[in-house]
């Protein structure tokens, strides 16, 4: 820990992410900074209850959480048990940061009167992590799509081989030729061929 960090009061951060893997990764990232006290929302607990329980300075919220509305309007709650104000962290000078945060699906609330100094680095860390997860998810979706297409092409080949008493290379060449003739991808030709077979079998 640096001397500066020692003299700095600890910042309480509550992480509210229902995605366990991503939430854990964000916690690990933030816990690496020992000037932060990092807290989570216990399973089954509403976000607002967790804020009441922990009294954080900052809340980092996954925007897919529907109970964000409770935090959004805490100021209007008459007789609220939560005496400290909650405000959406808004940085007028850094619109790009806020838009990026929104795009990646995270937002930040202050739970103290004055915005804490260190919100921006926290938000940036969260954005980086969310972006990584988003990319990984996209890569996974793409890998699953490729696998599904390969499986469909294999199925269409087997079906063609059986129907036409053809070999595997002949079946594949037929799919390739058909794809060229119709300016389609082989996977699309395979899907059409299988759909036609199902229709024929049903009639």
């Amino acid at each position: 820990m640096t001397e500066g960090a020692l003299s700095r009061p600890s910042l309480k951060v509550l992480v509210a992410d229902e995605n366990p893997k991503r939430g854990y990764a964000l916690l690990e990232t933030l816990r690496a900074d020992d000037s932060l006290e990092v807290l989570t929302v216990p399973p089954g607990m509403a976000l607002i209850e967790a804020v009441r329980l922990h009294g954080p300075d900052v809340v980092l919220v996954d925007m897919e959480r529907a109970d964000r509305d409770a935090l959004d309007s805490i100021r209007a709650l008459s007789g609220s048990a939560l005496e400290r104000p909650v405000a959406l962290f808004v940085d007028e000078d850094d619109v790009e940061l806020m838009e990026t945060a929104f795009d990646t699906g995270i937002c930040s609330y202050n739970v103290v009167d004055a915005p804490p100094r260190d919100v921006k680095p926290l938000l940036r860390a969260a954005i980086a992590l969310y972006t990584r997860f988003h990319r990984t998810r996209n890569e996974l979706t793409e890998a699953q799509r490729i696998l599904a297409e390969r499986s469909m092409i294999e199925q269409a080949k087997r079906c063609f081989m059986k129907n036409e008493k053809a070999s595997e290379p002949q079946a594949y060449r037929w799919l390739q030729r058909r794809a060229m003739q119709t300016s389609s991808r082989i996977a699309v030709v395979a899907a059409d061929y299988l759909a036609l077979q199902r229709k024929d079998n049903a009639s």
Binding site: R65, D67, D69, D72, L77, L88, F102, D103
Partner: protein
């Protein structure tokens, strides 16, 4: 030239005009390619408008007003395009109903409340969908009419409408004021009974409005096209003979263009349905007379002071012909 437009809605039956405008090809007719963003919370809608991730949205007027004033997040350029719906909110309580009807104002209502609370055995915990909602204002007026002080005699909480069904069944809330069709759904499931609602508290009150934000709101041609498409959809949705079809579309999964709403409850609250509080889909420009009661209540609750009221009158008044900015 086709223009892309992103419109935010929640899983509520009064989002129907936007859903049906797409389903009926009305956006396309006006040269619009509409992306409908079904949002998990009102905060997402307000942030979407603020951070240029939505071009327009269906929302209740108090939240639109507080957003335009910069009182819930960033100061946001908002322009009300017009009315979407009137009424449709229901006040539901769980437990045993002391009377088999909506509660009467005055002493009779107070007595019914006391009997219900005694059976409940605790200070009632009532939910609304957002603090800056017409639901809170309607609930407060209802409680006032039966001589119950909302702030002192109930605990208020905020939760999404879709969560209220579960919360009623788990008894984590004792009642709610909620938008269509969720109150009717709670009743059909035997989880709650209706004691009041829009029709009894403030008949024909303005409920949802269509707002636009940012650069989008400055393009008169595009704004006009969006307004026309939604106006056409409002006329379509107001026809009772379309209600079956609309309920069926709204019941579809989001991926198939619907909102996953319960079909029976949705049919009951659409025009021509059998519920106490049916929605009235209504078009035309938003008028100050639509907002008078909202601003009055917001001032009573301390959300708004005289200067804020004047600003809102300028921003949302006169059919809001000009783009508004706090």
């Amino acid at each position: 030239m086709t223009v892309a437009v992103r419109i935010g809605v929640l899983k509520l039956a009064d989002s129907a005009p936007v859903i049906m405008a797409r389903q009926q090809g009305l956006f396309a007719q006006y040269g619009l390619e509409a992306e409908i963003v079904v949002s998990p919370s009102w905060a997402n809608i307000a942030d979407g408008l603020a951070w240029n991730r939505l071009d327009a949205a269906v929302m209740f007027a108090p939240l639109a007003m507080m957003t335009a004033l910069g009182r819930r997040g960033p100061d946001t350029m908002l322009r009300p395009l017009g009315r979407v719906s009137r009424g449709g909110n229901t006040i539901m309580l769980r437990g045993s109903a002391p009377v088999r009807a909506v509660w009467q104002a005055g002493l009779a209502g107070r007595q019914a409340f006391d009997v219900w609370r005694a059976a409940l055995g605790r200070k009632p915990r009532l939910a609304v969908v957002h603090m800056y909602s017409t639901h809170l204002l309607i609930l407060r007026r209802f409680l006032e009419s039966i001589e119950v002080e909302m702030e002192k005699e109930t605990d208020l909480c905020v939760m999404p409408p879709t969560d209220m069904i579960h919360a009623l069944s788990e008894k984590t809330i004792d009642g709610c004021c909620v938008g269509p069709p969720w109150g009717t759904e709670a009743e059909l499931l035997g989880l709650a009974f209706q004691v009041g609602g829009s029709a009894t508290v403030l008949p024909n009150h303005i409920e949802k409005i269509l707002v636009t934000s940012g650069k989008f709101s400055l393009d008169e041609d595009v704004v006009h096209r969006v307004s026309r498409a939604v106006e056409d959809a409002l006329s379509f949705c107001q026809q009772p003979e379309q209600a079956e079809n609309i309920a069926r579309i709204l019941a579809l999964p989001v991926s198939e263009g619907g909102l996953t709403l319960p079909v029976g409850a949705t049919r009951a609250i659409l025009p021509g349905g059998g519920a106490n509080d049916v929605i009235t889909f209504t078009g035309g420009s938003l008028q100050l007379s639509d907002l008078d009661w909202i601003m009055k209540d917001m001032m009573v609750l301390g959300w708004l002071e005289e200067a804020g009221r004047k600003t809102l009158t300028r921003l949302f008044g006169s059919g809001a012909a000009e783009t508004t900015h706090a």
